[in-house]
Amino acid sequence: MITAAVPERENYLNNAYGIKSWLLTKDHKRIGLLYLFTVTLFFFLGGAFATLIRIELLTPQGNFVSSETYNKLFTMHGVAMIFFFLIPAIPATLGNFFLPMMIGARDLAFPRINLLSWYLLVVGGLFSLFAMLAGGVDTGWTFYTPYSTTYSNSWVIATALGIFISGFSSILTGLNFIVTVHRMRAPGMTWMRMPLFVWSHYATALIQVLGTPVIAVTIILLFCERVFHIGIFDPTLGGDPVLFQHMFWFYSHPAVYIMILPAMGIVSELVSVFSRKAIFGYQFVAYASMAIAVLGFLVWGHHLFVATESVYSALVFSFLSYFVAIPSAIKVFNWTATLYKGSISFATPMLYAFGFIGLFTIGGLTGLFVAALGFDVHVTDTYFVVAHFHYIMVGGTIMAYLGGLHYWWPKITGRMYPEGWAKLSALIIFLGFNLTFFPQFILGYLGMPRRYHVYPDEFQVLHVLSTAGASVLAVGYLMPMVYFIWSLRYGKVAGANPWGATGLEWQTASPPPVHNFDVTPIVTHEAYDYSTVIGQEVEVG
């Protein structure tokens, strides 16, 4: 009834129909949606594993599933969430969709490679999915040797191959982004005029390109050792299992920044748009992204403090780890300062941004805890670490991802989401999240090791609280799923720029035309200059 009258303008969604028009598309926007669909599947798959884990942990006796099953559940939760949800989530969906638009390009530099990346993720995902259905894998997502190479009787190879293949998806996405940012910017789009979302994706792409190949070769060596028993990391042949950990974390620690940097980019956009004010200290926020990307490569050894790493090495890694804290702190302070004398709207994306800043602050500060050597010895491999990284990954990345999804939903689909429901779900997610993960900090400090199927009685109260929180969180996550789908048909039709935002993506129709812009935009202003959109200036405060 809302849709009827006006004949629809041609856009990227209605210019072609049929399954082939999607599976063979080279349009970055359609590929972004393919990714959205894929990672959402993996999100709910990983979520289902998490649910089973939380149910099991309601009682200390381990009487819901067997040990084997439990070990597989937390492994597959980790694999699905990290490699097939968190890493591609923001860059490959929202980044793919909006990075070219934000710099005024018609597409990414290599659209066919972009499509190939998606296929690689799908193929990698199928491998891992096959492993999960065929019997699962029980090594933990970290695949530490020699357990993974010699002792595990589960589907290590299929899972590892899946991760290997999806790694190339990540590499190619990063490569595409870097070239696009260097070579495809519209006239006038200087580096210092780029939206911070683009900056953070550029930094992310650097990590993807420089880090991912190392996990690829590590997996190849793991594969050779498990299949041919040639003993690269095998201690009985004089190999060094800790070397595997070095190589694994050389990628997997920076990978944490692959997950959080794009989220920071989204939050920078949201805070600016919904304060209607240029981000405070734009250059500092931009350079902070780059600093995090570079410094993130120097700190991986802080995962090895008790893994027989040398004492001196541990000291250096602890020292360097604190350097990453500074650019992160700069970002948080600048976001907060942007609010000062702004014009703050409480639209749903902004609520998510607030949630992000708060939870990321807690996650980041507890990161300082675990970087302190004496403290880390006690809490590493306990629930404290689990809580810490869930505050970053779930409280940070997923909050920002949902915020970004709400923010750009009108641009992607041309429809508004229902504001009331969205606010409610944001609130539920925030409360459910804290109830789930805050008790885990205490559990960890009390000494509850992670990956425990059966645990001592005294930890039960906190586990029950955590499981209660998880059920709230699950409701919170299902709600957007429902109302987003609902809005596709019944949502209010969105204009080109419903938020009064300045980004180039808002200067074109919603949904955008096939090549994004009818006329290549020419950029004459800094990012976040709201006088171009709002017109008159009114003193606030």
Binding site: E68, N71, D138, T142, Y144, Y147, P235, G238, D240, P241, V242, R276, A278, G281, F284, V306, A307, T308, L315, S318, F319, Y322, A325, I326, I330, N334, L339, Y340, S345, F346, F354, G358, T361, L368, F369, A371, A372, G374, D376, V377, H378, T380, D381, Y445, L446, P449, R451, Y452, H453, P456, D457, E458, F459, Q460, V461, Y530, I534, Q536, V538, V540
Partner: protein, 328 residues
């Protein structure tokens, strides 16, 4: 459901130090969390949008402000680093007079061997107030020795020794966990650490050790593996004498020097060709697969007992008979 507490028990000399560090970290974290939460609440409500046409003034970032909020947090983090590092450094170096114990981890149990010959599985009895040093080996995958009440944790990696030490300060029964995922029954690889009053410990020790002290077991093994055929005490054998070896610096055939510590002896038993003593031929076969990690530890203890220095310094009143070096 057991009782809920917010802080774990403090039962070692490390625990108060780690907890003090925690209080500091917690104070900083609470301060900044409250600061950020309150600022957001206050600013968001104070400057809420009142009209859709509102356009705030452009503010240019302040260099001074950026420097302030980079430098101050950096200073605080450096305090964290230094404090954490000093706690860690203490945890790394066992005192010379620490009581040695051996731990072999395997799927899914902790095997503990006392010098006096007592063996325990998933239980560790130690005397109150005495520094204890564990030398740990793994027979299969990576495990991690973790006693929350002592605030200590150390991975046990197959193929090499790792060390952990602590000094209990409170009698009682404390959790021992495996903290590194090690397979199906990882969560079953748990046990108890019993900290006993010295006299109780003495009584427990004398409760019987059917197989003699650890070094006696090592000696039996040494003989049964025919090591003594070549490693003759007077140095006339085809292989170097082991008398007085432990703790000494050994000159190797390739010109390098190495201190004869646990790791060196273990390597020499399992990979004899890796480090050849100057003046000898690489004739020793490997004992990999012939000796278990327990056996290697017994052999090491036997070699230690051959001197030159007493195995345990500052002996005190405890466990004398096991610690007196054999004189042969």
């Amino acid at each position: 459901m057991g009782k809920l507490s917010l802080f774990p028990e403090q039962a070692s000399t490390f625990a108060p130090g780690v907890d003090h560090l925690t209080y500091f970290l917690l104070a900083v974290a609470v301060f900044f969390t409250v600061l950020i939460f309150c600022s957001i609440f206050y600013l968001a409500i104070r400057y809420r949008r009142r009209s859709d046409r509102e356009l705030p003034r452009v503010q240019h970032g302040g260099m001074a402000l950026e420097i302030v909020w980079s430098v101050i947090p950096f200073g605080i983090t450096m305090v964290m680093f230094t404090w954490g590092a000093s706690v860690f450094f203490n945890e790394s170096r066992p005192p010379d007079n620490a009581m040695p114990l051996y731990v072999v981890a395997k799927q899914w149990m902790w095997k503990i061997e006392h010098m006096e010959g007592q063996r325990e599985i998933n239980e560790l009895h130690i005397p109150l107030g005495r520094a204890v040093r564990l030398t740990m080996a793994s027979e299969d995958v990576i495990h991690s020795f973790y006693v929350p009440a002592f605030r200590v944790k150390q991975d046990v990696v197959p193929g090499k020794y790792s060390t952990i030490w602590f000094q209990p300060t409170k009698p009682g029964k404390y959790h021992l966990f495996c903290a590194e995922f090690c397979g199906t029954r990882h969560s079953g690889m748990i046990g108890w650490v019993y900290v006993m009053e010295p006299q109780d410990y003495q009584r427990w020790l004398s409760g019987g050790s059917p197989e003699g002290t650890l070094s006696e077991s090592g000696e039996k093994l040494f003989t049964s593996l025919a090591c003594s055929n070549c490693h003759k005490a007077d140095g006339t054998g085809r292989c170097p004498s082991l008398e007085g070896l432990f703790g000494k610096t050994v000159q190797l055939a390739n010109g390098a020097k190495v201190v004869a510590d646990e790791a060196y002896i273990r390597e020499s038993i399992l990979h004899p060709a890796a480090k050849i003593v100057a003046g000898y031929q690489p004739v020793m076969p490997t004992f990999q697969g012939l000796v278990t990690e327990d056996g290697v530890l017994q052999l090491i203890e036997y070699i230690k007992s051959l001197g030159p220095k007493p195995v345990v310094g500052g002996g005190g009143a405890l466990g004398k008979e096991g610690e007196t070096p054999k004189s042969k």
